[in-house]
Amino acid sequence: MSKPLSFQEIILRLQDYWISKGCVLMQPYSSEVGAGTFNPASFLKVLDDKPWRCVYVEPAKRPRDARYAENPLRVYQHWQMQVILKPAPEDAQELYLESLRALGIPLERHDLRFTEDDWESPTLGAWGLGWQVDLDGIEITQFTYFQQMGAIDLPVIPVEYTYGLERIAMFLQGVDSIFDIVWGEVDGKSLTWGDVFYQNEKDFSAYSIKEADIDYLRRAFDHYEAECHRLVSKGLLMPAYDAVIKCSHYFNLLDARGAISVTERAATILRVRKLAMAVAKLYVGGHGEAEDA
């Protein structure tokens, strides 16, 4: 058997594949996000009715999943590969399956399922229907036909594929822990995921769970919330959207610190959602093509 693909090779193969299908290669966004959908290449680009196809890798930072590098399957930061095809093509499922074949997975010899999973992001005012894709019982991708974003009914329905790159790498490399994934080689010597991110996981776990300054995070949340509204009123779309992302991340940190009660949680999500809606409305207003929900 040939050597399994390394983490970096998986990224390259998928990027190449989707570029060959007409996608433009974007890059991760320069701010902490909990999911690739927050990248403006997804959130904003799906709001209008113009064709759009892109692929990019995004580090998803989730303070609540921080486990001090002790859990083999759960980490503070994992890597998603995000693909958006707008409009969703008729062969959306086949295109996706072909991408797995491009990774050398003999689908016929495994059990691949499209399992019911209705995706929703309350903070983004977004939802869609689709599946989680399970390969021999491991969830490797979230596959969603977006219906709403920023509480706006989308004029053109896009499909979003979110690959869990670590899951795919574990599958291909046959390892039981994220930390054992071979990332690539440095001078012919193999480098693992753990080599690169162990410190990151340890430190950010401690930060997320124990050290993050709750008072500051609350103030920062309030500040960026006000700032977002102010910037929206000035028509400054991109800085306003950055403020949404900041609020969302601060909320995630406060949540991981256990600083948010059950009732406060729902209310805070609603506050972020309002910001996302305001920004989406501004974007659509500027483009004038989508309808308000």
Binding site: F114, E116, Y145
Partner: protein
């Protein structure tokens, strides 16, 4: 016999959720049948089939054309159909036009709702293919789904998931119809991986077989039977017996097109320390996460699990590796949770309940626990041999497991109750207490203490949800209150519990200390559920009406009365009683209230001047003590027999005696007599509510 063809419709879709399939195909078939029936097109057997990727209806022997029939169509009310001068208005003209008629064909006629304009049209002779082609698009989009989505630019085109192909036949020909983005054809597709190429169908009769050749078992019954057979075989091969799980079989049948079972190994379970994992936890982890089945031997689970895959071509040795790894990782999680939970025990969690909101605006979980205990004691007081201590202890611990690590984990929330029972048992609680905790969410508790806990819990849920203003509405019942109330009825009947709905409800509201203004609404809701429960048990709705009208407060008593009817309903006798009681009810309606029968005056026998009067009265007087004692002893069969013995005398009375005579004294006396007799019947049921045909 008209000339007929087979009709076939296959809607090819991207994977639709398992729970959507059966309701969708059922609705699709119903609508198609309705369209054909309304148009007078005859047809034969209907076959409903589905897989995650296709919804299929096959109708045999569908007539080529519909029968000619004359239909009368109702238009707008007469007052708007003609103007002051008696000329047809625009509205009337439009109505005529919509039926391809001339205003000269319009006419005005009265029906029960008033005066309307009508037109008669002969319809029929239309080709069934045209009829189907016209109606299929709207029928398809009318299929109801819990959640719908768009996938095209059209805002009105929605379905559970995108529709990707349509295969439609009428006889040997493709049935063509307009559809957004698709053209119906003679092509279908086989299994996604084993036979991805299109399959051409030449005739509907070969559809099932050709799909089978393409690795799709389109008939869900066949799939289910095969899954069950192969699971049993696989379990046997492992040296055990399959633990059946009807719900899971149904689900996996709807998740695959071509089942293939693989046996996976939990090898080294003992090394990893799962040997102590409770059976329910192991089963739930595997069922929820991998939709996997387990096998047992001598009551112990084998260290294996069986996965129903959707791949006829898979390599088991390759595929099972990850099923096993993921299963073991979930079991490790469960094992970790349980160890943490056992370190703590349930009692400290009961204290923590004070910090957890139960229902916003109603109270904390700790308060619910308190109410549960008190309500249990109140309801149990009526039950012979009820063990109050068991009930109190079980209620005290009942909700603690909601705060355990295990139950708080999404995958294991369904273990609520069961987890509590396991933890209670490991901390040495009596077996009866553990059982009651474990059975609180089921609808088949094994003891009266369990039953009372299960009922009390649901009563509190129902009351609280009503009080906060979220009762079920239409098809929306987010807190499953209907199911909970149905479970209350089932438990009462199964365990023959002497519970009064009013008393139970009053006590519930008294404990919560709120919701007096919602009492009527909750009571009506519970009564409705009782009615539905009884109707579901195949008691005719009018009997249920008759019994609930006089005895609706104690569900089990209503059940006993209805059961007594069941023995005697055969034949004419029952019908005649109903007819007689209707006459009595009609004639006494305005003078003698049925609500307060103790006020009904007795007739004065000195005023009787026909023997039918005295005969009836004497008989009624004679049976009264026996009737009352029969009712008292709940011997409703006997009570019914006694009442039936009055029947010939009532008939005779009506045959011979004229009640509404001019003489007021005589008239009233006769009415008193009838009302008194009616009151005897009302002790058992209001027979006047029984529907009599003809």
């Amino acid at each position: 016999m008209p000339d007929t063809r087979t009709f076939l419709l296959e809607i090819g879709v991207e994977e639709i959720p398992a729970s959507y399939l059966e309701p969708a195909v059922t609705a699709l078939a119903e609508e198609i049948e309705k369209v054909l029936k309304d148009a007078g097109v005859s047809h034969g057997e209907i076959k409903k089939m589905w897989t995650p990727r296709r919804l299929v209806v096959i109708l045999k022997d569908v007539a080529l054309v519909n029968l000619k029939k004359t239909f009368e169509f109702q238009g707008p009310p007469a007052r708007v159909a003609k103007d002051a001068k008696g000329k047809w208005t625009v509205q009337a003209t439009k109505f005529a036009k919509s039926h391809g008629a001339d205003t000269a064909e319009l006419y005005i006629k009265d029906n029960e709702k008033g005066s309307y304009v009508f037109v008669k049209k002969e319809v029929g002779g239309k080709k069934t293919t045209d009829l189907l082609a016209d109606s299929l698009p709207s029928i398809i989009f009318k299929i109801p789904f819990t959640k719908r989505m768009r996938w095209l630019k059209y805002k009105t085109v929605t379905f559970a998931r995108p529709i990707r192909w349509l295969c439609a036949f009428f006889g040997n020909d493709v049935l063509e119809f307009q559809f957004p983005g698709l053209t119906p054809s003679n092509k279908t597709y086989g299994h996604r991986f084993a036979h991805p190429e299109p399959i051409t169908i030449d005739h509907p009769d070969e559809y099932i077989q050709k799909l089978k050749d393409g690795f799709v078992l389109v008939d869900q019954n066949e799939r289910k039977a095969q899954i069950l057979a192969e699971l049993s075989k696989a379990a046997k091969k492992l040296g055990g017996k399959l633990v059946e799980n009807e719900e899971l079989i149904y689900e996996v049948t709807n998740l695959v097109e071509f089942p293939r079972i693989i046996a996976c190994d939990l090898g080294g379970v003992t090394d990893r320390g799962f040997a102590n994992l409770p059976r329910e936890v192991l089963q739930t982890a595997l069922a929820k996460h991998q939709r996997a089945f387990v096998a047992e031997k001598k009551g112990k689970l084998l260290p294996h699990f069986l996965v129903v895959t959707n791949s006829p071509t898979l390599e088991p040795e390759l595929a099972k590796q990850w099923f096993e790894r993921m299963a073991i990782s979930r079991l490790e999680d469960a094992d970790f949770f349980i160890k943490e939970d056992l370190k703590k025990g349930l009692e400290p969690l009961v204290e923590e309940e004070a910090r957890v909101e139960w229902v916003k605006g109603i109270g904390t979980l700790a308060q619910k626990t308190g109410w549960l205990t008190e309500l249990g004691v109140s309801l149990g007081a009526k039950i012979e041999g009820f063990n109050q201590d068991t009930c109190i202890r079980a209620a005290h611990l009942a909700k603690a497991d909601l705060l355990t690590n295990l139950v708080r984990e999404k995958e294991f929330t369904s273990l609520q109750g069961i987890a509590g029972a396991i933890y209670a048992e490991r901390s040495g609680e009596p077996r009866e207490v553990c059982n009651a905790i474990g059975e609180q969410y089921t609808d088949s508790p094994s003891s009266n203490e369990s039953a009372i806990l299960a009922i009390s819990d649901r009563l509190l849920n129902i009351a609280a949800t009503f009080i906060v203003g979220k009762p079920p509405k239409g098809s929306r019942d987010p807190f499953a209150l209907r199911r909970q109330a149905g479970a209350i009825m089932k438990i009462i009947m199964d365990r023959e519990l002497p519970l009064s709905l009013c008393a139970a409800l009053d006590r519930t509201l008294e404990l919560i200390g709120k919701g007096k203004d919602k009492r009527e609404a909750i009571h009506e809701f519970l009564s409705d559920r009782l009615r539905l429960y009884l109707e579901d048990k195949d008691f005719p709705y009018d009997w249920v009406d008759a019994v609930l009208a006089v005895a609706g407060d104690e569900p089990y008593d209503s059940w006993l009365r209805l059961s007594a009817f069941g023995d005697l309903n055969k034949g004419e006798e029952f019908r005649l009683v109903a007819v007689g009681q209707k006459r009595v009810a009609n004639i006494t309606r305005n003078t003698h209230n049925t609500r307060n029968t103790s006020n009904t005056p007795s007739p004065d026998s000195s005023l009787f001047d026909q023997k039918e009067e005295s005969n009836l009265w004497e008989k009624a007087e004679r049976i009264r003590p026996n009737l009352e004692s029969a009712i008292e002893k709940r011997d409703y069969k006997k009570a019914l027999q006694l009442l039936l013995s009055l029947r010939p005398l009532i008939d005779k009375f009506f045959d011979e005696v004229f009640v509404m005579v001019a003489d007021e004294k005589i008239r009233n006396n006769r009415l008193h007599l009838l009302a008194k007799v009616r009151d005897e019947f009302l002790k058992l049921a209001d027979f006047s509510r029984i529907v009599v045909e003809g």
